[in-house]
């Protein structure tokens, strides 16, 4: 009997290589499990072979498999080509289990903005799994996939990992190809691994990362090392006070994070308070100009001419307007309007151009800290998973959920979330932020902490 709730990808690989289980058995173990979480928008048949199965967020294009980005406007869209990350995964024999639910065009922090209904948190079905990658997160924590691909623009891998109790990496911008990934905000989007533990996370990252001739913004990536260490001797940890003492952080979250920080110290790390004043003050505001501005342009191609939904009209203009009105949900519409405004003549300098300047300030502020520290730590999310429906009518409250994940995204830096305990019976995530291309450092530090924290990633109600 395969325990899909606990089986790691690494262990699955060992079992397959030792022929203790067959590829078909392994795939079936996930495929046959009932999806009561609405984690998947589409489940796939076993393509054969004995690679490790993989769930894929539905913003990542998969040849011959519907890719909706959680939107009505792409309801009938089937890509004619694989995203580079999918091609890489297939080259390693990975088999796609299905496409996971997401906030529409990855815009959201709860997966409630999906046109295909919300995904449920495996720890408590009445709560959100986080977002936008709630489908991948729920699938991994709910035993529906050994690991998954997500995408992160302002926290869409890290925050769901925190809310569902597993490991998620948002890689350094430019290390993973965006080719074939439905664009939300091009200068921020990154694909990354969602996994049950840090070693799996590192392994999946090694498969998907690397320079891609089809994505001009990618670079050569340092060789990925699978972490083994359980000591943190010599590691210099910075604790940005604005991020750890931010308004709105739940006490249970602070307690769990502080316990993890003490544990790190006991494992040999040096811990020192530091400061990221502008990054935290301006990060969210800046993000909500840059990301919608790019989104307003990226989403303009959905006009009903070549693919996806078309609602006819008397002329081109009317067809486009009707198609977009019917095809987009409220959140994309909201962001298209904000972004269009921010780029408009007369407002560009005040909004978009200024936001880009602030972004440089945020990057410099982080760079300065990485001269003194190897990693920065904070809670990933200010709160544990919140009830479905609690914030849907308050976009601003929803946006503030990403207060702690956004600054490092704006700086293009890698961030990893690992579970560090429970608060009110729900997982709490610890965010580790590294310098540019510092993934190996993050893996080493997170692995040692993971061993010491010894969090049980299986939701209590499913044990």
């Amino acid at each position: 009997m395969i325990d899909t709730l606990r089986l790691t990808a690494e262990e699955a690989k060992r079992l397959l290589e030792a022929r203790e289980i067959s590829g078909a058995e392994l795939f079936a173990a996930y495929a046959e499990r009932d999806d009561d979480l609405n984690a998947y928008l589409h489940r796939c048949d076993d393509p054969g072979g004995d690679g490790i199965p993989l769930a894929v967020k539905d913003v990542i294009g998969t040849k011959g498999i519907p890719t909706t980005a959680g939107s009505r406007i792409l309801e009938n869209y089937v890509p004619v080509y694989d995203a580079t990350v999918i091609a890489n995964a297939k080259q390693h024999g990975l088999r796609i289990l299905g496409k996971t639910n997401t906030d529409e065009f990855a815009m959201g922090s709860s997966t409630e903005n999906s046109a295909y209904g919300p995904t449920h948190n495996p720890w408590d079905l009445s709560r959100v799994p986080g977002g936008s990658g709630g489908g991948s997160a729920a699938a991994v924590s709910g035993g529906l996939a050994p690991w998954a691909l997500g995408s992160d623009t302002g926290g869409s891998i890290k925050q769901p990992a925190a809310l569902c109790g597993h490991v998620g990496l948002r890689p350094t911008y430019g290390t993973v190809s965006r080719f074939g990934v439905v664009a939300f905000a091009s200068s921020l989007d990154q694909v990354g691994p969602v996994a049950k533990n840090v070693r799996d996370c590192a392994y999946l990252y090694s498969i998907i990362s690397g320079r891609d001739a089809n994505d001009s913004t990618t670079v050569e990536v340092p060789k990925v090392e699978l972490p083994n260490a359980d000591s943190l001797a010599g590691l210099r940890i910075g604790v940005p006070k604005e991020m750890n003492g931010a308004e709105g952080i739940e006490i249970g979250v602070t307690d769990a994070v502080n316990r993890a920080i003490s544990l790190a110290e006991s494992l040999g790390a040096s811990v020192e308070e530091c400061s990221l004043p502008r990054s935290v003050d301006y990060g969210v505001a800046c993000y909500y100009l840059v990301a919608p501005a790019e989104a307003s342009s990226n989403l303009a191609r959905y006009d009903g001419v070549r693919y996806g939904l078309r609602v006819d009209g008397d002329d081109f203009r009317e067809m486009v307007m009707r198609t977009r009105d019917a095809g987009f949900g409220d959140e994309p519409k909201r962001r298209i309007m904000i972004g269009t405004y921010a780029l408009s003549s007369g407002y560009y300098d005040a909004y978009y151009a200024t936001a880009q300047k602030v972004r440089t300030v945020i990057k410099r502020e982080h760079d300065a800290l990485f001269e003194r520290f190897d990693v920065l730590v904070s809670p990933t999310s200010p709160t544990v998973a919140f009830p479905i429906g609690a914030k849907v009518h308050d976009p601003l409250a929803m946006y503030l959920n990403d207060l702690l994940t956004i600054p490092s995204c704006m700086a293009g830096l890698p961030g990893l979330s690992i579970p560090c305990g429970l608060s009110e019976g729900l997982p709490v995530g610890l965010q580790l932020i590294g310098p540019q291309f510092g993934e190996n450092t993050l893996f080493r530090a997170a692995h040692a902490l993971e061993q010491a924290i010894d969090f049980d990633p299986v939701p209590e109600r499913l044990r």
Partner: protein, 467 residues
């Protein structure tokens, strides 16, 4: 009051690279609709642009030929607008950091030369082609628009001039010279009929001596240089008339019908479009390396403008201009070097040779020189015949040079007499005063002699015989 026209040009040139600007689809004519397409140029979700290195290099080469500053850092921007031929709903173009800026092109004139400032030359992608059709599939009464994306994403260089031009003739000469420059650099075929070179003209007028810039109108869709010159002249006259009658020129676009030069242009109000330019986040800035710029500089030979000035020392300015902008001057030089008379060679090339449509590079200059030298001695028909074969592989002038003009009256008289006898009616009418019939008789004689008779002698003898 006297008025000074102010003219600025905006020219688009399609680069003839192997592949498109941001994907690896073939760049070129041919192929059925939508056969030269891929997820990138169709703007499928998730596709990303990768810039064409060759296109960037070619644009740098053009920039150098136009005396531009080549940017250390050039940036691609997105120009956002909805249109069915614009699949991403943004065009990747350049905005405030173009590859080439601040250049000039000196246009030779009979009086010297006029220098036109080049504001910028930048690289962008072309749009797809819209075809409007009716349900029947015909153009008339169009009810639907079909889009062919073969052209979408092909590389396009946009060249913008300063408003330095003050008459239609100079605008025309500038365009001709620029076209020849682009063709010689190997960048583009720059064929107006095929749309691989297109241009818009901005026209305004102001009181002579003033340096204000008044409201301009934009002239579009003129696909010949002469047509453009005519259109500009008419527009200048129209604006002057409006001001002199106390009116105001409105900012508008004049769309010409390229198939009907004489029909008045359609007018449309210029809508204030907000393109919401911002730096293309899918691309990184371009930093042209010094060695690439130098390599491009080395590829530039003597430019057409300089050659016009040089050749005008030997020939008239007019001849020099026609030869160079017609792409004939290299052949001309070779023919002259082979011994032909410069003026004679220029006349043959600019008038007769150009009508044959033969590519100058296919011609053996030494053989053509022999032909030019013998032009007065051989029959016109033989010369014409020889010219049409001048581009054939292995062409030699010798067989044509053997044919001599018949100028001997004793040889021609019997033929003339025979023809007069055969046409008594016409002879009668001629004698009755219908002088125009002389041509008829001369023509008959030329025909009878297979074109070998000397027309001057025939003329003289026919006149004498009929008189």
């Amino acid at each position: 009051m006297s008025w000074q026209p102010v003219i600025g040009l905006e020219i688009h040139v399609q680069l003839k690279t192997e592949t498109k600007m941001f994907c690896r689809c073939r760049n070129g004519f041919g192929g059925g609709p939508n056969t030269q397409t891929c997820p990138v140029c169709l703007a499928f979700p998730g596709s990303l642009p990768v810039p064409n290195r060759r296109a960037i290099e070619e644009t740098i080469k053009l920039g150098l030929a136009l005396d531009c500053t080549i940017a250390d850092r050039a940036v691609f921007h997105r120009k956002n607008y909805f249109y069915p031929d614009n699949p991403k709903a943004y065009q990747i173009s350049q905005y405030d950091e173009p590859l080439c800026s601040n250049g000039k092109l000196a246009v030779p004139t009979a009086e010297g030369e006029q220098t036109i400032g080049i504001t910028r030359a930048h690289l962008e992608e072309d749009a797809a082609k819209n075809v409007h059709v009716a349900a029947s599939g015909r153009l008339h009464g169009a009810t639907a628009t079909l889009v062919d994306f073969n052209r979408a994403g092909t590389p396009l260089v946009e060249i913008v001039t300063e408003p330095d031009i003050h008459d239609a003739e100079t605008a025309k000469r500038f365009l001709q010279l620029l076209r020849q420059t682009v063709v010689e650099l190997g960048l583009s075929d720059a064929e107006l009929e095929k749309g691989s070179m297109r241009f818009d003209v901005n026209v305004s007028v102001r009181p002579e001596g003033s340096d204000e810039l008044r409201t301009r109108t934009e002239l579009k869709n003129m696909n010949s240089f002469n047509f453009a010159a005519k259109g500009i002249e008419r527009e200048i006259a129209r604006q002057v008339r409006i001001y002199e009658e106390g009116g105001v020129v409105e900012q508008e676009t004049l769309h010409f019908d390229p198939t009907q030069e004489d029909s008045p242009p359609m007018r449309s109000k210029e809508e204030a479009q907000d393109y919401r330019y911002f730096p293309e986040p899918d691309l990184v800035p371009v930093h042209p390396p010094e060695d690439v710029v130098e390599r491009m500089r080395e590829q530039i030979g003597e430019l057409p403008g300089a050659r016009i000035r040089r050749i005008a020392d030997t020939l008239s300015f007019y001849d020099a201009d026609v030869l160079v902008t017609g792409g004939l001057d290299l052949l001309w030089s070779a023919v002259v070097d082979a011994g032909a008379d410069p003026k004679e060679a220029a006349n043959v090339l600019a008038n007769q040779f150009v009508a044959t449509g033969i590519a100058p590079e296919d011609v053996d200059a030494a053989e053509l020189a022999k032909l030019v030298a013998a032009r007065a001695e051989i029959p016109r028909s033989a010369f014409d015949e020889a010219l049409t074969h001048a581009g054939d592989p292995g062409f030699t002038a010798a067989p044509y040079l053997g044919q001599k003009v018949v100028a001997d009256a004793s040889e021609l008289d019997p033929v003339i007499e025979r023809i007069i006898e055969a046409n008594p009616g016409q002879a009668e009418q001629y004698r009755g005063g219908k002088q125009g019939l002389l041509g008829f008789f001369v023509g008959q004689v030329m025909k009878e002699t297979g074109g070998k008779a000397d027309p001057r002698v025939v003329n003289e003898r026919v006149r004498a015989k009929l008189g």
